[in-house]
Symmetry: C2
DNA sequence: AGGTAGTTGCAAGTGATTTGCATTTATGAT
DNA sequence: ATCATAAATGCAAATCACTTGCAACTACCT
C-alpha cells in the first residue's frame, strides 16, 4: 500500500551532530516532539513519560536542546513555556477559546516586511530572529 | 515657554471607565507606565514603589488591568512578564545583547499580511490579536 | 573491559506569581 | 456629610514552574 509517510528524523544522528550522548531520555523526548508535531511544554512531556523520566531531566534536556538549536522556544501565552523542533521556521495561530493551534509559514512576506522595518530603524542594524503569533477564533469556536 | 508636551492621559477617567476604584496604588502604577513608556515588569514597578505598595497588589493590579484591556502583555524573552499601556498597538525590536528596545508600528503592512494568512487558513475564522517581536543587534552592539 | 566526561535522579532551593483572610478604603445612596 | 457595602489592600503562607548540588550511573572512546 502506498502511504504518504513523513520522512522519519534520524534522532540518533541529530544527537551525535550536536555532541549529545544518545540516551533513552533524550530519544523519548525527541519522539514526543516528532509525534505531536505541535508546541509542547515541559509539563506535557513529563506527564507523557511519567515514571520513566525525572522532571529535572526534562527541563535540563529542553534547555540544552534549545541552546544547541534543536528546539525553539515558542510563546503562546500559556502558563508554561512551549518548545518545538527547530526545523522549518513557521508561526502559529492560536484559538483563544479552545487552544487549537494551526501552523503557518509566511517567510517570504514576513522577511520582506522585516527588511522594510530595519531600513526605517535608526537604532537597529540586524534582526536575527523574530516571532509572530496570531490569536483569534477558530472556525469551530467563532 | 512652549514645550512639546505629550498629552497627559486622564488616568482617573480611565479607571472609572473600566469600573475600577480610583486608588493611590493604581494611579502610581499607571504613572509608571506613562513615565517609562516601555514594557515594564511587575518587579520593576514594585521596586519603584517600594515601601508604598505591596507586591501582591502590583500583581493583582497588573492582572486586572490586563483583563480589562488597559494593559497588554508583551513577551520579550525576559525572566518575568512585561506589560505596557494598550493604547496604540505596536511591536518591538529587542537587542539580544544589551536589552535595548525600540518600538515600531507596521499596522498597514502587517494587517495586509494577516488578511492573506486568514484567507489561506481552512481552520481559522478570525484573528483578534497578534504579536510580532524582533530580536537582533542594535547599532551599538552589532 | 576500563576510565571519564557527560547524564540522570533525587531532594532541596529559587523566584515569580497566587491566594486566603482580616483590615481598610472608595464610592454611591441616604 | 455619613453610612453601608463592595472592592482593594497588606501580610503571610502557598503554589507553580523551573533550577541546582550532589552522588550514583551510563554512553562512548580507547
Amino acid at each position: 500500500m502506498l502511504r504518504s509517510k513523513k520522512p522519519a528524523i534520524d534522532f540518533i544522528k541529530l544527537l551525535k551532530d550536536n555532541k549529545f550522548k544518545n540516551t533513552p531520555s533524550r530519544l523519548a523526548i525527541l519522539e514526543i516532539f516528532a509525534k505531536f508535531d505541535k508546541p509542547v511544554s515541559a509539563d506535557f512531556i513529563y506527564k507523557k513519560l511519567k515514571g520513566h523520566i525525572n522532571e529535572a531531566t526534562v527541563f535540563r534536556t529542553l534547555l540544552s536542546f534549545e541552546k544547541s538549536g534543536i528546539l525553539r522556544k515558542v510563546d503562546l501565552r500559556k502558563d508554561s513555556v512551549c518548545f518545538e523542533l527547530n526545523s522549518d521556521h513557521h508561526h502559529h495561530m492560536v484559538c483563544v477559546k479552545c487552544g487549537f493551534i494551526e501552523d503557518f509559514k509566511g517567510s517570504k512576506d514576513i522577511e520582506k516586511l522585516l527588511e522594510q522595518i530595519i531600513e526605517k530603524s535608526t537604532k537597529f542594524k540586524k534582526i536575527t530572529e523574530h516571532s509572530l503569533e496570531l490569536f483569534g477564533f477558530c472556525k469551530m469556536c467563532n
